[in-house]
Amino acid sequence: MAQVTLRRVSKSYDQHVQAVKGIDLEIADEEFVVLVGPSGCGKTTTLRMIAGLEEITGGEITIAGEVVNDVPPRDRDIAMVFQNYALYPHMTVFDNMAFGLKLRKFAKDEIRRRVDEAARILDIGELLARKPKALSGGQRQRVAMGRAIVRHPKVFLFDEPLSNLDAKLRVQMRTEIKKVHQTVRTTTVYVTHDQVEAMTLADRVVVMNRGVIEQVGPPQELYHSPATRFVAGFIGSPAMNFIPCRIQGRGNELTLRLADNLSFPLPPDRTQRYGANTDREMLLGLRPEHLTELKDQAKPNVVRLDSRLDVTEPMGMEILVHFRINGTAVCGRVDPSVRAMAGEILPMSADLNHMHLIDPETDRVI
């Protein structure tokens, strides 16, 4: 049973640079939490503070109810998988995996049993006698995970473990990690800058930016109801489009105005939410899949938007089209059966049922 709690945790270097600015986070037992964000957002620092590799400037971290601020890494009962695997080059795969158990004075039989069990889970049984140099990237990755599994720790920590693998192997190992977590069921904190990894692996995703947590939630929630402009733009690929707009009108008769000759009635269920923000510069957030070719059957709140295409990118299952709305470059997704050609005008549609309205002053989604 290992819950991890961060209370007002902060980290600063030389009193000037604040890498982490007082974050709060509760991680439940057996939960798989992914910290995601761009480089320098403080996610790796946070992970290293949980591991005890980085001193905590302020706040409190507890693992399984015990405050660990001043507990050295070896006594925290955690296991970590590093970005470059950090396998001991002078030890065989077996010794690499057994090292932590040997230091903790486990019996030889027990070490053998645990290493064999981990090797079976990870399918590296025949590599046990090899040294790390004789392994491929994917195999090293498995050994690094094996080293974590054999310890039966309270918490697994992963620090961008897949970023050194090629794209194909990364997808494969992603599935492996998920499978391992389903088998071993240990509280896991996983750091990545790849939002796809975050979405696919996590029970809950923690989006970080500039040392603070922007939003915490299950992947679907983050995708469909982002709390801030940063989360809206960070989650999802291609990224959400942001178009300057204005809300006009009164009561239940609000319109969304994108340009002088381009305004649409707002969906009736949004009027109450947006009513307080009329006649201000706002941002309309619309994902590319909600900017698509005009369909024959009219749906409520789907508005027509004829556009001259700048660039088209055929992806196979879809075509990405780039065009402008009142000067702002946006990206849409159309069905591959549509004849989309750069330079030509295509009847497009915007699905306002899925719109987001962002206040540019606070960068929060309303």
Binding site: M80, A86, Y88, P89, H90, R104, R151
Partner: protein, 315 residues
């Protein structure tokens, strides 16, 4: 017609055959390996002249009588092995080289770790300060040490007297003299070990230590299981290198004790100098200096074998 054909074919023949030979010569000259050998030739000549020739010449010398007029085979060697003084020289050389190298490596290893944990600018400063003994010519620094410990002007004895202890005739007692010779050599040679180990420590990824910390290692276990194995090759190489240099050391012993008291601090080089140059028995001196060779050859084989194996495993 016949004349015509000969006049035509003669230049054609001349023009054909010699260029074929010339072009193969040119091809030989243009081969990269040929160029490489040619470029190395000055060095090869230099090594042949300064190393290979003196080596074989000293072997030849050691097989001659004192006046260098008669070939006496291994007589000089037999004489040396039966001489009590030379047996002492063998013991003293081994004692000197092995203890000095051991302490140089040990202190260098500890200093490198201390240095590695000092951050940024301070490290640069301390590194510079600690390198000083190594950059002073040993003959000069030995003279400084001699001043501090020799009977008449000894600063160390003065210090002892200040704290109420009796002065010691450091260089007149066999074991004190031996210890001082080793100590000065350690003082002089440690920075080399420190800088080599520090450079290698810097190339060990921090994450190995972090992984070990998470795996449950104490600092001593990190040194035992990470630093030592990762530094094994450089330790082997520096130890071998230093053994060679220390076995052949001349200036520290010569300047500090010159073999005194009663030849008990002589090493191969100073004894060879005394016999060969000062006493004028060049063949016997040559025989003494050649004794280093088989001892170092055995060391080298053992040490380099391990280095080669580990290099293949990528450590």
């Amino acid at each position: 017609m016949a004349d015509g054909t000969t006049t035509v074919s003669a230049p054609a023949l001349r023009g054909f055959a010699p260029p074929a030979r010339r072009s193969s010569l040119r091809r030989f000259a243009q081969r990269r390996s040929t160029t490489a050998v040619l470029m190395c030739l000055p060095l090869i000549c230099l090594i042949a002249g300064l190393v290979v020739y003196p080596f074989f010449y000293s072997i030849w010398l050691s097989l001659l009588n004192r006046a260098m007029t008669r070939f006496i085979a291994l007589f000089n060697y037999r004489y040396l092995l039966r001489s009590d003084t030379f047996q002492l020289v063998i013991f003293q050389s081994c004692f000197f080289a092995i203890t000095a190298v051991f302490f140089k490596a040990l202190i260098g290893f500890i200093l490198a770790h201390v240095m590695h944990n000092i951050s940024g600018k301070d490290q640069k400063l301390w590194r510079g300060v600690l390198l000083v003994p190594w950059v002073i010519p040993p003959a000069l620094s030995t003279l400084g040490w001699w001043w501090m410990i020799s009977g008449d002007y000894s600063a160390i004895n003065w210090l002892l007297e200040q704290v109420g202890m009796h002065p010691v005739a450091w260089l007149a007692s066999t074991w004190w003299a031996r210890i001082w010779v080793v100590a000065v050599n350690v003082w002089y040679g440690t920075p080399f070990f420190m800088i080599m180990y520090l450079a290698t420590l810097k190339s060990v990824p921090d994450q190995l230590y972090e992984a070990a910390a998470i795996d449950g290692a104490t600092w001593l276990q990190k040194i035992r299981y990470i630093s030592l194995p990762m530094l094994r090759n450089i330790i082997s190489i520096t130890v071998l290198f230093s053994l060679i240099v220390t076995f052949a050391n001349f200036d520290i012993v010569e300047n500090l004790t010159a073999g005194a008291p009663a030849n008990t601090t002589h090493v191969f080089a100073t004894y060879a100098f005394q016999l060969g140059i000062q006493s004028g028995n060049i063949p016997l001196g040559a025989a003494v200096s050649l004794f280093i060779f088989p001892i170092l050859a055995i060391f080298s084989v053992f040490i380099l074998r391990g280095v080669g194996r580990r290099a293949q495993e990528g450590i």
